[in-house]
């Protein structure tokens, strides 16, 4: 058996060490990563994947700790991938989501992995969706992804999760924030956390009134729930709602088909983009023309789009020849 076969076998058997190593392999983009994902892919698609997003400090990590505990009480196993930002200056990262979840860490039915974005845009890491596949293949019933503290446009999570919970806290913004496009549009469930604080009802009303402005007929109307993650208040109702959404997705076959198709399409496009641009840039750099054009851009002799055009025309000619 090759090393990768052995690793895949370990993942499918739910071995914790194998799961951890597999995620590292994927994160580091090791040569075996692709084969590994290919080997486990057939065993994925069983877990319910939940995404939690929202501003930094809204209480996502603390909420997840409580959600996981509730799922464990209901006899489900859970995987968590918690994403924090990588420094654009040093490439380092401080991964601190786990601190709020350490009580869960010796429970064998729970696996938590912290992940740095490694400068991937959109609120998650490049490796997040494949790490989710590893946890899914390892037999976790539920996989929760915590995005980085997301502001307005970090919506990559829709390519990964089936149920998206957008977490707010009172005082973070008024009804003008609630009406904006982006994160506010992707929620299947809204949560106003820290509901014991002043203005919690105002936050709920801001979100609700924005939802009411939507006059399209939609099969699932996102509910707005209040929680106090620290005391656990409202968690039961939140997990019930998440389950309700899961049932809705399973029941509404058309909705499910469209969502599966959209995800598959997005994943394929991402994979193509990564392969094509990755190898193409390597090729172009080899020729030396790349550096020359970088200098021309720096000296304002040409603009980046025209330079790209020039390089690509040549690459296409070469491919055709």
């Amino acid at each position: 058996m090759t090393k990768t076969e052995e690793l895949a076998k370990g993942v499918l058997a739910g071995n914790r060490r194998s799961v951890a190593r597999a995620i590292t392999t994927i994160e580091n983009n090791d040569p075996e990563a692709q084969e590994l994902v290919a080997r486990i892919y057939a065993h994925t698609g069983k877990a319910h994947i939940i995404g939690l997003t929202g501003a930094g400090g809204a209480g996502k990590s603390t909420l997840i700790e409580k959600i996981v505990k509730e799922y464990r009480r209901r006899g489900r196993t859970v995987g968590v991938v918690a994403v924090d930002p990588t420094s654009p200056f040093t490439g380092g990262a401080f991964l601190g989501d786990r601190i709020r979840m350490q009580e869960l860490c010796t429970d064998e039915g729970v696996f938590i992995r912290s992940m740095a974005t490694r400068n991937y845009a959109g609120g998650i890491a490049r490796a997040t969706k494949d790490a989710v596949k590893v946890l899914d293949a390892a037999g976790k019933d539920v996989v929760i992804v915590e995005t980085v503290g997301a502001g307005q446009s970090e919506v990559e999570i829709i390519k990964v999760a089936q149920t998206i919970v957008v977490v707010h806290a009172p005082g973070l913004g008024d009804e003008i924030q609630a009406i904006k496009a982006g994160v506010m549009e992707i929620a299947d469930i809204f949560v106003v956390n820290k509901a014991d604080r002043e203005n919690a009802n105002k936050a709920v009303i801001d979100i609700q009134s924005n939802l009411q402005m939507n006059n399209k007929e939609i099969p699932w109307k996102p509910p707005v729930l209040k929680t106090i993650a620290l005391t656990g208040e409202g968690i039961l109702e939140l997990v019930d709602k998440i389950q309700e959404h899961r049932c809705f997705l399973e029941g509404d076959l058309e909705c499910r088909r469209v969502s599966l198709r959209t995800k598959a399409e997005a994943e394929l496009i991402d994979a193509i983009r990564e392969r094509v641009t990755g190898s193409l840039i390597e090729e172009l750099k080899k020729e030396g023309k790349f550096d020359a054009l970088v200098h021309e851009i720096m000296e304002r002799k040409t603009d980046p789009t025209s330079a790209a055009e020039k390089l690509l025309k040549k690459a296409v000619r070469d491919a055709e020849a």
């Binding site: 914790r16 060490r17 799961v19 951890a20 190593r21 995620i23 590292t24 994160e27 580091n28 983009n29 090791d30 040569p31 990588t86 420094s87 040093t90 490439g91 380092g92 990262a93 401080f94 991964l95 601190g96 786990r98 601190i99 709020r100 350490q102 860490c105 010796t106 696996f111 938590i112 992995r113 912290s114 740095a116 490694r118 990564e274 392969r275 990755g278 190898s279």
Partner: protein
């Protein structure tokens, strides 16, 4: 495709001790040196620390302790690491550890101990120079 190997470090606070300024300073310094640093938070049991190291697949563990309980906690941590077959993880420690205990702690498999006054540069250099090789 580009390989993106990163050094992953767990900074852990074993036992009943509420002072984590030092742990945070070291975590921050390693972050600024380009590493991915996971911090456990305060009051962790040996089981929690070892399980976290396993799930996070770290290359290095830094233990911070000021309570004086290192003689009880460190042997447990090192034993659990061996039991989980995490022998390729490099462990260093820092905090208040009396001179006469340093040799004993090193015998347990703790590679280095950094006392008060150690510069963050020294720790970064040490981690980079003593990084375990992975099979």
């Amino acid at each position: 495709m580009r390989k993106e190997r990163k050094i992953r470090v767990l900074i852990a606070k074993p036992g009943l001790d509420s002072h984590d300024r030092g742990a945070k300073v070291v975590a921050r310094a390693l972050r600024d040196a380009g590493m991915e640093v996971i911090y456990t938070g305060l009051r962790q049991t040996p089981q929690q620390i070892v399980e976290t190291a396993l799930q996070e697949d770290v290359d290095v563990i830094g233990l911070s302790i000021l309570s004086g309980a290192h003689k009880t906690l460190f042997p447990r941590i090192m034993r659990l690491l061996r039991e989980q077959d995490l022998t390729d993880v490099m462990v260093f420690a820092g905090g208040i550890i009396p001179e006469e205990d340093v040799v004993k702690m090193k015998k347990l498999g703790i590679k280095e101990i950094f006392g008060p006054g150690t510069t963050t540069e020294t720790i970064i250099r040490y981690v980079l120079d003593n990084l375990p090789r992975r099979s």
